[in-house]
């Protein structure tokens, strides 16, 4: 059966060129970069190269790059340590984030609220965008940190980071952006964006899982999340994951080289898929801004059917995608992102997310367009909420 993977926002396949770059660092050049001997120094040099690759991609200085296990760690570190430092130094006690952030950001922010920080969660408009006025209204001179993701993982909405970061700066607050979904397709130059912190995870841009980085602007505060070693300028203890770092460096360099091509290819397939679905399936609507949207993201609500049921049916046809329904997440509520858009609750469990990657083809898209209408038809026939015409 033809397998079609359209869940690249969840994770991506490691690019063969990245695999090749990583190979020597498992059993051949396996030294610990902190070791003084030549085994260690060899590894250390390689890490240096990856650090340069990452810095170049972000337009940052090498010393501003901190390697870690991924964006979940990076986001936790920024949100849980930076406000504490700024509270101690200058009495800032306020954190701002948005209603569509990934759970690692929201949960970290809520944890800080429990520790006594004021927390403001900015709403988004019906397109899933944080409006600059919302931040202007919510920020004050006691705000320590503003954290808003560059591009949303569920609906692909691209936030106006440069404008938002400028507002934060005006009030003396620090600005963090989770750029995990943006890396593949958007300009991540930290000076253009004007951010103080930025997080990435390699496994979203054809690198290995379990490795990422935190960009921290020089002189911006950061607490030590993991103690016990001098690695990363005493900011993040733990033996460096050399093969992972090498892989990430190689993957980042490929993004730099191929970003324009990837974006163009993805967009063509995305538009083909969206047009095809709308044509073939009645009563479907797009979730999230049509224009300010990642070129690889299709997220639609299909009325009168439930997401996990569609997912299972698609999986049986070899197609992998994702959904925002409660049934698929184990909670009682649908995706907080879908709900933040104002999608009526009775339709909030019927969303499907398809995220295109570099290996997808027109045939993959056409296979989905062929198969999805039959699936929806069958499930609508069974649905007590579907109008009579579908029974």
């Amino acid at each position: 059966m033809k397998k079609v993977y359209l869940d690249n926002a969840a994770t991506t396949a490691v690019d063969p060129r990245v695999m090749k770059a990583m190979q020597p660092y498992f059993s051949d050049k396996y030294g610990n970069p902190s070791s003084v001997h030549s085994f260690g120094q060899e590894a250390s040099e390689t890490v240096g190269k990856a650090r340069r690759q990452a810095a170049k991609f972000l337009g940052a200085k090498q010393e501003e790059i901190i390697f870690n296990s991924g964006a979940t760690e990076g986001n936790n570190t920024v949100i849980k340590t930076v406000p504490k430092i700024l509270k101690e130094k200058g009495g800032r006690d306020h954190i701002i984030t948005s209603a569509v952030e990934h759970h690692c950001v929201l949960d970290s922010a809520k944890a800080m609220e429990k520790e006594g920080f004021r927390l403001t969660i900015l709403p988004v408009n019906k397109q899933g965008i944080v409006e600059t006025k919302s931040l202007e209204d919510g920020i004050d001179d006691k705000t320590a940190l503003v954290s808003i993701m560059y591009a949303n993982n569920e609906i692909g909405a691209i936030q106006p980071i440069t404008k938002l970061a400028a507002i934060a700066k005006k009030h003396g607050a620090k600005f963090h952006t989770d750029a995990v979904q943006a890396a593949n397709y958007l300009d991540c130059n930290v000076d253009k964006l004007g951010v103080d912190y930025l997080t990435l995870s390699a496994h979203k841009f054809y690198g290995p899982k379990g490795i990422g980085l935190l960009y921290k602007r020089q002189r911006a505060p950061l607490g030590q999340y993991m103690s016990g070693g001098a690695q990363e300028n005493h900011l993040r203890a733990g033996t460096l994951n050399v093969p992972g770092i090498v892989g990430m460096g190689a993957a980042i360099e490929l993004v730099s080289k191929e970003q324009a091509k990837r974006s163009a290819n993805a967009q063509e397939l995305r538009d083909r898929l969206l047009t095809g679905i709308k044509k073939a399936v009645p009563e479907v609507f797009l979730n999230g801004d049509r224009e300010n949207r990642l070129p690889n993201n299709v997220n639609v609500t299909i009325k009168y059917v439930e997401g996990e049921g569609m997912l299972m049916s698609l999986d049986m046809e070899g197609i992998a995608c994702s959904t925002g329904s409660a049934c698929s997440s184990g909670s009682l509520e649908a995706s907080h992102v879908i709900l933040a858009l104002g999608v009526p609750k009775e339709f909030s469990h019927g969303s499907l997310r398809f995220t295109i990657g570099q290996d997808n083809t027109k045939d993959d898209i056409d296979h989905v367009i062929e198969v999805l209408p039959k699936i929806v038809k069958r499930l609508r026939k069974m649905s007590p909420l579907a109008p009579k015409k579908y029974h």
Partner: protein, 125 residues
């Protein structure tokens, strides 16, 4: 898929799916806000559930649970059917060990919908 073959089979080819035009009882459980809605229709003759059909909006296990429910119930007396619980449904779906814990509530919904259908029947008669 991590679902067992029984669940998959009932999801792919659900039994007794549809509506009854002149039902003797209809029961609805769940709500669209939670993402699960089950509707059960029964036709009773001489105290026996002669026919039973379901409509379900929900995940794979919810649809499978509905299908399994109708198979267990069809042909039983109303009194026998009233005694069916979610445990019986889970058993037919493969047993506690084969149904993911977060999906147990789907069987509870099925039990609920059936009981409501029976209640409506009893009120009318």
């Amino acid at each position: 898929m991590q679902y067992n073959p029984t669940i998959l089979e009932h999801f792919k080819n659900p039994k007794n799916q549809g509506e009854i035009s002149n039902p003797d009882g209809v029961g609805k459980a769940g709500n669209p806000v939670c993402g699960d809605v089950m509707q059960v229709f029964i036709k009773v003759k001489d105290g026996r559930i002669e026919d039973i059909k379901f409509q379900t909006l929900g995940c794979g296990v919810a649809i499978a649970a509905s299908s399994v429910l109708t198979e267990i119930v069809k042909g039983k007396t109303v009194d026998e059917a009233a005694k069916i619980t979610k445990a019986d449904i889970i058993e037919e779906l493969g047993g506690q060990k084969k149904v993911p814990p977060e999906k147990i509530h789907c069987s509870l919904l099925a039990e609920d919908a059936l009981k409501k259908a029976i209640e409506e029947y009893r009120q009318k008669h």
